[in-house]
Assembly symmetry: C2
Homo-oligomer: 335 residues x 2
């Protein structure tokens, strides 16, 4: 049954998800924070800054501010960058509230509060049932209609099943999960491992070293996840390993790029200044390190990424110190 869906956030992934929802037959409004950007989208039907080369289908409407589309929506897809999520939604929270379902697609952890996007949504919107969406999903490919398989997670798996039914199409498939915490943490923490993978690339350490780093990285973030109440297994699925792969092996990845350039010897401010979009891992590595220390979870990769990114430690020293750790029993780690 077609629904009225508002996609909150007109970046690359928001635009791609609006296209997905429209393809699935729904009446879609793409809502953006900045009226002038929304006006430009409406006029040109292109989102060149965030999703180059894609024409936005004619049936998608646009909105900004306290638009009536918010009141009329049957459900929301929230794709606002994590660090802006609270400030962006607070002024319009009353128009979004109620019991209408929200699909949370932001990735990251809010600096300071260490809140996850779904927590921010609950704090600003009240009792709306929140489902979390994550998985390997470069926006450009999804918008172009190439196949993608993701996971939708909610504690009561029925909410995830409802979104699965709403959005599934020829090329867009959703598994469900009842571990939203694990799915959401995977999507955030993998960006830290992506920076480490980039360091490895930048230092030209080869494919073996990179693959080992990713394998150990997933074990590390799964260990943190388990300590805070997620299921370790979730990190071995689409939202953990799956997402990590596109992030680490595709040339588009922003976090990979930050790592590569740090590995090649450039300085962080210079790298960030040259990028149009956020590299969430730069902030997430700080949050992950804090979480690890708070819960007494050893996070050697995260510690080294943090030191290289924020404490001027040379990349080669960070990687060398990881290599010098005496390997133990992998069976213990994976238990």
């Amino acid at each position: 049954m077609p629904r009225r869906i508002v996609v909150l956030g007109a970046g690359g992934w928001g635009t791609a998800l609006a296209v997905v929802a429209a393809r699935a037959g729904h009446r879609v409004t793409l809502w953006g924070r900045r009226p002038e950007h929304v006006e430009e989208l409406r006029r040109s039907r292109r989102n060149e800054a965030y999703l180059a080369g894609i024409t936005i289908p004619g049936e998608i409407a646009f909105a900004s501010g306290a638009d009536g589309a918010l009141d009329e929506a049957d459900g929301f897809i929230s794709v606002i960058p994590t660090q802006h999520l609270r400030a962006t939604l607070t002024p319009v929270a009353e128009r979004i509230g109620g019991e209408r379902p929200v699909l949370s697609c932001s990735k990251g952890i809010e600096t300071g509060s260490l809140s996850r996007p779904s927590e921010i949504l609950r704090e600003t919107l009240g009792r709306a049932p929140v489902t979390v969406l994550s998985g390997p999903s470069h926006a450009e490919e999804v918008a172009r209609g190439l196949p993608a398989t993701l996971v939708a997670a909610s504690r009561d798996e029925e909410h995830a099943v409802a979104w699965q039914k709403l959005l599934t199409g020829e090329a867009f498939r959703l598994y469900t999960s009842n571990d939203p915490l694990g799915v959401e943490l995977g999507g955030a923490l993998k960006n830290v491992i992506a920076i480490a993978a980039g360091l490895c690339d930048g230092l030209k350490l080869g494919d073996n070293a990179k693959a080992a780093l990713l394998s150990r990285g997933i074990v590390e973030i799964g260990r943190l996840g388990a300590a805070v109440g997620a299921r370790k297994q979730t990190f071995f699925g689409l939202s953990g390993i799956g997402d990590l792969l596109t992030t680490c092996y595709s040339p588009h990845g922003r976090n990979l790029r930050v790592g590569r350039e740090l590995g090649a010897g450039r300085k962080l401010p210079e790298i960030l200044a040259s990028m149009k979009q956020v590299a969430e891992g730069v902030w997430t590595c700080r949050a992950a390190r804090e979480l690890g220390r708070k819960h007494d979870v050893p996070m050697p990769i995260t510690e080294e990424v943090f030191a290289v990114v924020h404490q001027d430690r040379p990349a080669i020293e960070g990687l060398r110190s990881l290599m010098r750790r005496q390997p133990k029993s992998e069976s213990e780690d994976l238990r």
Copy 2:
């Protein structure tokens, strides 16, 4: 303490492991099946056919046939291709037997018998304690001294720890595991998933589709592993996911290449004729399918790979049929 180690098998990986053992300070003999190839190695100190661009260090000796080095060895590293392992070792089994430890580094499953390399070693060599080595390890990178991290597994983990101590060096690190079955099966079955990843590349389905296919592929081979007595978790470690990554994202991968060319429309005999080395997945997909059917484990990816490789099914149809499966709960799969 330096030991006398014979590396059985003078292919690319055997040559690289001989270099690793020599770097760790041992007295190493590289033993090859074909005397004329061994003679060429001795003369040129290069193994151009299997490991281009590497000079074999002067302290490595060479042997073939029933050489005295076999009798004098303290331990063996077996790196003979799985399909030739039984026939190659049988004539010299008495010279290798006894209680001297063997590190099994072959990957694959013997066609017909469905035996794993460690089983073939036990059947031909008797009571030698066998440890299995696997993980992300392109031979060229290892020989060049780039960092690599693998896993050594034996039911009694002490044997694995002994090999860890013998071989660990500045750039070569070994985790241990007590699940040799899982480690060995991962190294074999990942080649089937690598062919599927190649089909995905050949059909230009994009990074999202490939990452999802790998994530689901690991779940599938882990399910088969669990059914035959391995631990599912092992497939999420270095010998499962880790090895799968180098196989699927590095341009050197032979199984990936077979998949890519099938995906692009070439025929199997033509592809195999153009390759110098074995693409194990071509045979492993048959064995994996048989094992799955025998144990009643659903293996959709393996079934489609088999059909494309051996039954002339067009690659696009195989992939489409995978995409049409209705996704269920990922939490169930990962349990």
